[in-house]
Amino acid sequence: MTHEFRTSAGGRIDRSSPVEFTFDGKSYQGFAGDTLASALLANGVHLVGRSYKYHRPRGIVTAGSEEPNALVGIAREKGQNTPNLRAPQVEIYQGLNAESQNRFPSLSFDIGAVNDLLSPLFVAGFYYKTFMWPRSFWQRVYEPFIRSAAGLGKAPTDPDKDRYANYYAHCDVLVIGSGPAGLAAANAAAQSGARVILCDEQAELGGSLLHDATSMIDGKSAADWASETIKALSENDRVTLLPRTTGFGYYAQNFVALAERVTDHLANPDQSLPRERLWQVRAKEVVIATGAIERPLVFPENDRPGVMMAEAGRIYLNRYGAMAGKRVVIATACDTAYRTAVDLKAAGVDVAVIADLRPEPVGVHVDAARSAGIRVEGACVVTGTKGRLRVKSARLGRIRPDGSVTVMGEEACDSLLMSGGWTPNVSLYSQSRGKVVWDEEAGAYLPGPSVQHERSAGSCHGVYGLHAVLEDGYRAGESAARAVSSAAKRPETPSVSGGEAGAGGTLGALPHDRDPSRVRAFIDFQNDVTAKDVKLAVREGFHSIEHIKRYTTTGMATDQGRLSNMNALSVASKSLEKPIPQVGLTTFRQPYTPVTFGTFATTARGEAFDPVRRTPMHDWAVEKGAEFEDVSLWKRAWYFPRPGESMHEAVARECATVRESVGIFDASTLGKIEVVGPDAAEFLNRVYTNPFLKLGVGRLRYGIMLSEAGFIMDDGVVGRIAEDRFHVTTTTGGAPRVLAHLEDYLQTEWPDLNVWLTSTTEQWAVIAVQGPRARDVIAPLVEGIDLSTESMPHMSVREGRICGVPTRLFRMSFTGEAGYEINVPASRGREVWDAVWKNVEAAGGAPYGTETMHVLRAEKGYIIVGQETDGTVVPNDVGMDWAVGKKKADFIGIRSLTRPDIVAAGRKQLVGVLTKDPKVILEEGAQITAEASPALKTPALGHVTSSYYSSALGRSMALAMIADGRDRIGDTIYVPTAEGVVVVEIVSPVFYDAEGGKLVA
């Protein structure tokens, strides 16, 4: 059986390289250069899939990416399965393993095909009208049933092993499509010296030239001319040729995305190659040369395996040496199918008849067929087909002048090739936001005026006939090059013989003599949409083409209506009694053909998904067994469990250590901004609620920053290093936002201020040393700074050296203990840390992480922006009116603080809460109510913002935001939890060292 349908010679396959592959477990042989579709056809296999809804047997229809039926799953190794690949695009390789889809148990016997029997019920939109009773059945019965019946292939179940790459490219002229138009355009642009990228979704460049067996260009065969042109282009180093590369997205400003398939066609791809590559191309000019797509004819039973597009039959024959059948009927309304007939006949195929819809077919193509001895019938229409898994015969009818049809008889055949004419492929033009224009003469939508720097060429432009297409291509290439450089010159259009334009075409459902209620003529093959469905939609009031699309799902399948849209539109237009241009067209969207998710995600995967920021001391923490938490892009040490310690134990120990002796903490992730310039103090005075003009050099101040809406946006400590130089710190997560916010005001509101902002977050490593022994620990290492409280009190900053490294030493505390933050240049951070750690360790101290830091500050009632506050909180809410300069005339957010609802009673205020049972630790986020068992929908009084076990208090404690909380101190309130209601008392938010004596010691 192998190669039973293979021609004896010719085509672009390598007959000396046989390739074994399997389809549904059965082995077949093809040749290198075959696609899965061509190889199956050569083996006589047409039946390759089942349709979406009715599970009807379906065959290969096209030879390109517009294929609606022949979708297969390709299995490679684990983690490398891919569903829904189009057989005409799958290149075979040794060992290829393909499976049909959407059938059970087998392709030839599919239980789902009962749906076909029920098809009178399963019309467009049927599911909106039923499955409503009983109510609970939708979710339990109907939906699961519908879901499992729907869908095509099976999603992969293992993580994808392959890699994907990205490449940003620029060029003068991007040419999409490499048929005669694209090659000519690329040629013209390249000869003008332009930087050119030429891509084509097919494995081989050349487009229709590769299967044009009769035309001659410059005295050469079309294919030879293509090869020579491509060779010349490939030798030009300003030209990039990209086969297997689909132009899938045309975005604003000539930004075009291409998807290159790098390894899928290889039997054993080199592991260092990516599977696919995303090309993000910025082109100065674009030439769209994507060809035209042949339209199916809409006649009853037009969906049998063996029914194919006529041009596809020609492509399989001339390019792959594969015959669609041995006895072929050709049904057409267009001249181009005659070429297929002639070529088939020349290859020895029996062409039973050309059934032409047109009353009197005439012209060169018709003459050629007639003189080849092929029977041509005018006014002849196919009215049905027979055959279960492959077409066996075609029923022909005669169209009478009044439009009615009489039976002509049946023609036996094993393949039926059809052509309803051509639809210019205007997808990418439309994506570029161009508006297509209906051309009555051409019976097609054609590209209208260019919106971007783009032009269409060749048959996608409505230009047919090889010479005209080449001419159009040269014109487009030249004009594109000219738009880029005036030096553009244009090569002569070569002489052409053959390749005359083929006239004709039809749109919509064809007339027939059969009982309309019993036959179905398919418009959208994959989604099983028939002409009747479209008519039903119109009848039900769906008059917009967009409604018709969504109600019938025509054009929504994986081919996105490439074959069906014009036929659907025509049927709708008839039903609505409105001309086509008034019915409109649905929107073309990216991607042009489906694109792998991995190709969009490219290298953003694992650690490279987002940069992982680590501090200079990160490795030390890893060595010490720290657990980490993600804070914005940073990894921060969370806590340092000792062997066998739980998180709770570790944190309690760390807390106690800080309170009793000393702890060391990596604060490097804090945002830092150096604010410098004569107006620095004035600037800070405007952006913080606090007054800054009088802050002395060498002093620190805690500041709050508001959004203009008055809500707390960030906080931090600001040090005045010099009259005109401040060291500002921000929260870790807030750093980029704060810098942008400050730049915004500086550049747009106050450009007159002489002050500049420089991020120094990563300049400094920051080592916090906190605890009663902090000074003892660092003193031996510090040079040039008097650490005594008199000389360096709480909230001051000094410059000097530590371990010989220049430092900005902050005396400050976020723990309530006396402490320091040692800023040293990042590259020296680890060495200083090591030295400090040695002393800390010797003093019985310990490293602590963010969790301990959070507990310690909560004991002091210090807020964390983002935890106590949530973007709806003003300073007064968290008891920070003290930080708002009363005498200040202005600062960002000031006006918002006096808005009626901001000063109204009932706002939530920061308080402490203590559970009656000191062992109970509330959960953060828990809600607070006034009643022990509140009725449902009782508004909460507030919620717990921070909650910990406090080793200093020897019990649990929490902070909360509670309505009018400060007035309720002493009240007993309730926290409903899953385990029951917890009784708590409202207390002051400062639990530890309320007088602050420890800080100034």
Binding site: A252, R282, E708, Q747, T748, I894, R895, R899
Partner: protein
């Protein structure tokens, strides 16, 4: 992805280098405290949100860092012009006429 030309760098760069910064020419009141609640709400929240030409701010965040203004058509997303901070807002009607030519 838009391509945006930065009036400070003098080159066109991809949108990912930029941050959109909202409607342009909404000057912060010199003395906010003098505003009524209505006026303050107007400043804070009310936006032109036009369908058509819009004056908007962008920042060349991952480039020169500068904020600048642009006139863009919010239907076609085409930039009509960009100009530096502090320069006067062009006459949009005039621009429309020019664009039509």
């Amino acid at each position: 992805m838009l391509l945006i030309s930065c009036p400070y760098c003098g080159v066109e760069r991809p949108e990912i280098e930029f941050r959109h910064a909202g409607e342009a020419h909404i000057a912060r009141p010199a003395e906010p405290s003098k505003l009524t609640d209505e006026e303050w709400a107007e400043y804070l929240y009310m936006r032109t949100n036009p369908k058509g030409l819009m004056a908007e701010r962008w920042r060349h965040t991952h480039g020169c860092g500068r904020f600048f203004n642009a006139i863009r058509d919010t239907v076609s997303d085409k930039f009509v012009t960009v100009y530096k901070m502090g320069e006067a807002k062009p006459d949009l009607d005039q621009l429309l006429v020019e664009a039509a030519q």
